[in-house]
């Protein structure tokens, strides 16, 4: 998974990667050549007292060294470029994929998980690629080169490698292998700690109101101890790793000198070559160590790559039609009218036994208000989301002016509808930026008009910066009621043919609610309005009220009709107002 993903995303940078490998090859060969030059200085310069030779070879060594550093820097440059470009491209494709998702896929992954995948997981993969380019590609070259050079210096002594390399590999491998479970556990435990802290911050008032500080401290303390335990376990192994490697390397040197001494004595080896051999054996052991360490980084990155590929491989269930029906073809005298029809609509979540919506059939006429009321979990929000295709129906059809919504382009469909979601979500920026979300080229006059309808003009005017007042992420600088009104203004400014209000008045007090509905009426005179509400007062004037229960329509009619004929509706009404007031 990791390899396939990385290969696919490195393809555009193939040239750079090849050049990088070439540079790393030269750089590594350069550093391998240096000990051999040093051996020459000792054997042919020092022993023979040839000062001129020493100077010449020294100069050559510096030249090689300079070439080596230039190649290495070039390789770092190319490596940093290719790896970070890979990260950028991965992020871009992930973002684009998620943008295409319907609410169904988004909910499947969950927004927080998708955020982590787009940022942290990409970072993981990128770092491994970068490490590979700058450090890892050197390891095999170093190892092969080191072995070749060592053999050149002394084939007999090189047999030592057959003992030392496996020992080092096994020792480092064993330590790393024992560390992997610790690392795996560590990430999970950090997640728990962060989750506890997140809860404590978001629930600070509740914790304090119930005087639960000590209990929270205990809960945190337990999580902290669990993290401490794994961190300490991993740390202790890590503490063992470095001295062990040092020991094995040092002992190898001792072994080289011991066995080398015999050969020198026998006149089979020169002293300078023995010293060069020492350097080569260090190179080889370093390469072995680096490869083993690297093996540890890979599993984490592989997990991340898997998570990235999952997202990239997921296709949205809501797809753009190949040949969309032109908006003009459903136009009436003054453009599309916005008549919404549900025909035997059924919707079920993936994997759920029971559909959430069963056999819904109704029509929302332009200029009329259709209200939907029902208990929590009756499927009201789902129903509303089917119109702008946040989901697609699993049975039946939703159509606008007789055209199935699945046959319209998503752009046209979006321009026809104005949705105000249950949770009033504002984007960071300014008030004006948020209104422009509804209409990109809105003038200030249009903005004020929309704010006026949404009963938001007063408080926006009261802000020192007015329309340009900053909005923090999620709109936390505004109260719940203010957020809702701004979200309504954002929909109103679009002048859509179809208004979709999802319990959008719940945070408003009754006076504001009533004023808003009154101001909305002329604005929506020839548009279709579909309102989901909890409050009877909000919908009692609707032209058509649908009573939803467990995903089915159990009653339809006007307020007065339903009050007489529908028990469920009557029950809802009674709970909110006494009968004589309702009549």
């Amino acid at each position: 998974m990791l390899v396939a993903l990385v290969r696919r995303y490195l393809r555009p940078y193939q040239g750079a990667v090849v050049l990088l490998l070439l540079l790393q090859l030269v750089a590594t060969l350069g550093s391998l050549y240096l000990p051999s030059l040093n051996a020459d200085i000792v054997d042919q310069g020092v022993t023979l007292g040839d000062t001129g030779y020493i100077m010449r070879t020294g100069g050559w060594m510096l030249a090689v060294s300079l070439a080596q550093v230039l190649c290495a820097i070039g390789a770092v440059y190319l490596g940093a470029r290719a790896a970070t470009a890979l990260g950028r491209d991965l992020r871009r494709d992930l973002f684009d994929s998620v943008q295409q998702f319907s609410a169904r896929e988004l909910d499947g992954f969950g927004a927080p998980s998708l955020i982590t995948r787009t940022t942290n997981d990409v970072q993981q993969v990128m770092m491994v690629v970068l490490m590979t380019f700058t450090v890892m590609v050197m390891a095999p070259i170093m190892m092969v080169g080191g072995v070749v050079m060592a053999l050149r210096e002394d084939p007999t002594l090189s047999r030592l490698l057959l003992v030392v390399v496996p020992i080092l590999g096994a020792a480092v491998g064993l330590i790393m292998w024992r560390m992997v479970p610790y690392f795996r556990g560590m990430q999970a435990r950090i997640d728990v700690i962060n989750a506890v802290l997140r809860e404590q911050i978001t629930g600070m008032r509740v914790v304090r109101a119930f005087v639960r500080e000590e209990r929270e401290a205990q809960r945190f303390g337990a999580a902290n101890t669990r993290l401490y335990d794994v961190s300490l376990g991993a740390g202790k192994l890590m503490a063992l790793a470095f001295p062990t490697v040092m020991l094995i390397m040092s002992l190898s040197q001792v072994a080289v000198l011991w066995f080398g001494a015999g050969e020198v004595s026998a006149g089979e080896l020169q002293v300078g070559s023995l010293m060069a051999f020492l350097s080569y054996i260090m190179f080889i052991l370093m390469a072995v160590m680096m490869s083993t360490m690297m093996v540890m980084m890979v599993p984490r990155a592989a997990v991340a790559a898997g998570r990235i590929s999952d997202v990239l491989g997921t296709r949205s269930t809501v797809v753009e039609p190949a040949e969309p029906v032109a908006l003009a073809s459903l136009a009436g005298d003054q453009g599309p009218r916005g008549r919404v029809s549900f025909a035997s609509v059924e919707y079920g979540y993936p994997g759920a036994d029971e559909p959430v919506l069963h056999d819904l059939t109704f029509t929302a006429e332009p200029g009329r208000t259709t209200a939907i009321i029902g208990s929590t979990g009756a499927g009201k929000t789902t129903l509303l989301n089917l119109v702008p295709r946040l989901f697609d129906v699993t049975g039946g059809s939703v159509s606008i002016d007789g055209v199935d919504v699945r046959d319209l382009s998503l752009h046209d469909l979006g321009s026809l509808t104005g949705l105000v979601p249950q949770k009033a979500f504002l984007f960071s920026g300014t008030v004006a930026d948020n209104l422009r979300y509804g209409k990109g080229d809105a003038t200030e006059a249009e903005m004020w008009a929309a704010l006026e309808v949404a009963q938001a003009r007063d408080f926006v005017e009261a802000l020192p910066e007015g329309l340009h007042a900053p909005v923090s992420q999620g709109g936390t600088t505004f109260s719940g009621g203010q957020r809702q009104r701004l979200a309504i203004a954002r929909a109103v400014i679009r002048r859509p043919r179809i208004y979709l209000f999802d319990d959008s008045f719940s945070a408003l007090d009754y006076a504001t609610d009533a004023r808003l509905r009154a101001a909305l009426r002329p604005r929506t005179a020839d548009a279709s309005v579909i309102v989901v509400a909890q409050r009877v007062a909000t919908i009692r004037d609707a032209d058509q009220i649908l009573v939803l229960d467990h995903g089915r329509i159990v009653g339809r009619g006007t307020h007065t009709e339903l009050l007489e004929s529908n028990e469920t509706y009557a029950e809802i009404v009674t709970s909110q107002m006494s009968l004589e007031e309702a009549a």
């Binding site: 750089a27 240096l34 200085i41 000792v42 007292g49 060594m61 510096l62 550093v69 290495a72 820097i73 770092v76 940093a80 871009r92 973002f95 943008q99 988004l106 927080p112 700058t134 700690i193 506890v196 802290l197 997140r198 911050i201 119930f210 005087v211 639960r212 929270e216 401290a217 740390g235 063992l240 001295p243 040092m246 040092s250 002992l251 001792v254 011991w258 015999g262 020198v264 004595s265 020169q270 002293v271 010293m275 029902g374 929590t376 752009h411 509808t417 949705l419 979601p421 979300y437 408080f459 992420q473 109260s479 945070a507 009754y510 006076a511 004023r515 009154a518 009877v536 709970s575 909110q576």
Partner: protein, 657 residues
């Protein structure tokens, strides 16, 4: 440039107090000082052993070399010739430089090969030294791990404890995302960078000192040569770090902006889609993504050049040592083994320098995070509880606000001179438009915020004379935003149960039945053992609300605060909740904030608030008869003609001060 530090040529333009934060971290480590002393000792021993290794190994090389030269001389001289004779013979033949070299060796016996016994002896010592270095090195690293992990754990605990002492006024003013980032990302970063750098840093610094000492011992000339490269490498590292640091700052800043954008677009996904803003979103994303790419590429490249550059310096060092050392050996001033040892030392010398250099970035990022964590730890704390505090026994539940004034912002007084009495057992309904100060009233009663003037009393006792714990444990609260923690439903429900209080299964089920929690929990496969994830997403908003109501129910407090508690519960469920609430309220003083008039019609006292003032007080019938603000509010719910309504609104507005 008159600043002394600037003149001293500080390496980087620091936006932070690097050394100050480092000292502060040292203070946090103080409880570990015994360990730190011990580990430093171990480090000294280990490094001392490690650095003597090459010197003795150099002796071994000398022995081999002597054997080699001896054999060489043996070809021209008869066996049994002494060193002196050999030197004399060499001089006689006019080979002065070779004579000097052999003279310097001391133990060359012509004709005799490598002295195997002496070699074995030396190598045996070396093995012992290396094993010793290993043992002490391991001990040092272990001690360091324990010290660092203890410190990080303590830091985490400190931060968590701090969270319970910060006044809410401070928390509300800041972006929660930022605080969250400090307690999660920043602490993680501190933990990671300290574990990775601290142990290495100690070893590296000790090694530099030790190696330097050994180098001077062997040959001060070569040591000076090697030292030439030190200022070079320091200058080089500083120069590179100076350039890479702003790139790192930019990298993380850009990453932060990208994260914020991604988070916003993914959480607002539905809106982005239905409003057809994908292209805008993608454009902004591309811009931020490119910025991250640019900064990351630069920071990685620039910091990546440290390693090869230092490698070049090491090689330069190597060549210098080889050339000058070679010349000195040839002239007999130095033994070949010493040169070899020296070459090893010079590598050991530059290696820790390189390590310190490449750790600088990690260290800087860790210190930057530590600074943010300390900023949080230094945040103001709420006023301490009074000592001795008044005790409450047998709470009746009379709450009185007298002459209370309060404001979030001194420029804009919010609540002015507010009087309100809730007799024991009474239900007080607070109504009024958004922003009238209803939630503030609750904040003050709970002492989430401290009042600026006047007093709030509980059974005649000023709430400031009580501990917050004593006050809050008498009040049960259901908030507008439903907060549940990760745990089972049962654990969440029992959350508010006072310590030492047993809740029997019957009482528990009674409470869940009374609040309509029981039916829907029973439909869940795991029932009360269902684990709620982060935000309790498995449940609908209404169901979560019911859980919070049941939680307050089980807490069994004397006073209740209900803040728009029922706004997301459908009206049929609400009827059931209402009944339960009535039962719960009996015998308890209750403050209810709700927009739904049906919820508060039964209240004993209705308080109508506007602009932080109480404009009307009384029961439903009285207030209707008074035909004031409440009557208009009431009318607006049920009588809807547009004209009348806007007039009514106009009236409400003019009525407000």
């Amino acid at each position: 440039m008159s600043h002394p530090h600037a003149a001293a040529g500080m390496p980087t333009a620091k936006p932070m107090d690097f050394s100050g934060s480092l000292r502060r971290f040292a203070t946090t480590m103080r409880p570990e000082r015994a360990r730190v002393v011990l580990l430093t000792l171990c480090g000294v021993v280990s490094v001392a052993l490690t650095v003597t290794g090459p010197k003795i190994l150099g002796d071994a090389t000398n022995v081999i070399f002597e054997g080699f030269v001896g054999q060489l001389l043996g070809r021209t001289m008869p066996a049994g010739t002494t060193t002196q004779e050999a030197v004399a013979a060499l001089r006689a033949s006019g080979d002065d430089s070779q004579a000097d070299m052999v003279a310097a060796m001391g133990d060359v016996v012509p004709g005799q090969g490598v002295d195997v016994d002496r070699l074995a002896q030396i190598l045996g010592v070396v093995v012992l030294i290396y094993v010793g270095a290993f043992a002490f090195g391991w001990l040092q690293a272990r001690l360091m791990t324990v010290a660092v992990q203890n410190t990080v754990r303590r830091l985490r605990d400190d931060v968590e404890a701090k969270l319970h002492r910060i006044p809410l006024s401070h928390v509300d003013k800041q972006a929660r995302g930022d605080i969250l980032s400090r307690v999660t990302n920043d602490i993680d970063n501190v933990a990671q960078s300290t574990t990775q750098t601290l142990a290495q840093l100690v070893t590296s610094l000790l090694t530099v000192v030790g190696v330097l000492a050994m180098m001077f011992w062997i040959s001060w000339v070569l040591a000076l040569v090697a030292l030439v490269t030190v200022p070079l490498s320091v200058v080089l590292t500083m120069a590179i770090a100076k350039r890479s640091q702003p790139q790192f700052v930019e990298q993380w800043a850009a990453t932060g902006r990208l994260n914020a954008h991604v988070e916003e677009m993914f959480t607002g996904h539905a809106l982005v889609k239905v409003y057809g803003r994908q292209q805008d979103a993608a454009r902004t994303f591309a811009r931020e993504n490119e910025a991250v790419y640019d900064a990351t590429r630069r920071s990685q490249f620039i910091s990546g050049t440290i390693q090869p550059s230092m490698g070049f310096l090491a090689n330069l060092n190597y060549v210098l040592v080889a050339v000058i050392g070679g010349l000195r050996v040839a002239s007999g001033q130095l033994s070949i083994g010493d040169v070899q040892a020296f070459i090893q030392y010079s590598r050991q010398f530059t290696q820790p320098l390189t390590q310190v250099a490449s750790m600088m970035n990690l260290l800087q990022s860790g210190v930057a995070s530590a600074e943010r964590v300390y900023e949080l730890l230094d945040a103001p704390e709420q006023d301490p509880d009074p000592v001795p505090a008044r005790e409450l026994t047998d709470v009746r539940g009379r709450v009185e606000f007298s002459g209370v004034s309060f404001s979030y912002d001194p420029q804009e007084p919010l609540i002015k001179d507010l009087d309100l009495v809730a007799e024991p057992g009474q239900t007080v309904a607070i109504v009024g438009p958004t922003g009238a100060g209803k939630t503030t009233l609750v904040n003050l009663l709970m002492r989430f915020y401290e009042i600026d003037g006047g007093r709030i009393t509980l059974d005649g006792v000023d709430t400031r004379e009580l501990t917050r714990r004593a006050l809050r444990s008498r009040i049960g609260m259901v908030l507008q935003d439903t907060w549940l923690f990760r745990g089972t439903i049962e654990e969440n429900l029992r959350y508010g149960v006072r310590d030492g209080t047993e809740v029997s299964t019957e009482t528990f089920l009674e409470a869940t039945r009374a609040t309509s929690v029981d039916p829907f929990v029973r439909t869940l496969p795991d029932g009360y053992d269902t684990v709620l994830d982060d935000e309790g997403t498995a449940l609908s908003a209404g169901e979560k609300q019911l859980l919070t109501i049941a939680r307050a129910f089980l807490a069994d407090p004397e006073i209740l605060v209900l803040d728009e508690a029922t706004s997301s519960v459908d009206t049929r469920t609400e009827v059931l909740v209402q009944q339960a609430m009535n039962a719960l309220r009996s015998g308890r003083t209750a403050f209810v904030i709700a927009h739904r008039l049906s919820t508060i019609r039964d209240a004993d006292v209705i308080v109508v608030m506007e602009h932080g003032r109480i404009v009307e007080q009384g029961d439903h019938d009285d207030l209707l008869a008074a035909d004031g603000a409440y009557a208009r509010l009431y009318a607006s719910q049920f009588v809807a003609p547009v004209v009348e309504e806007s007039e009514a609104v106009q009236d409400v507005r003019t009525a407000a001060p």
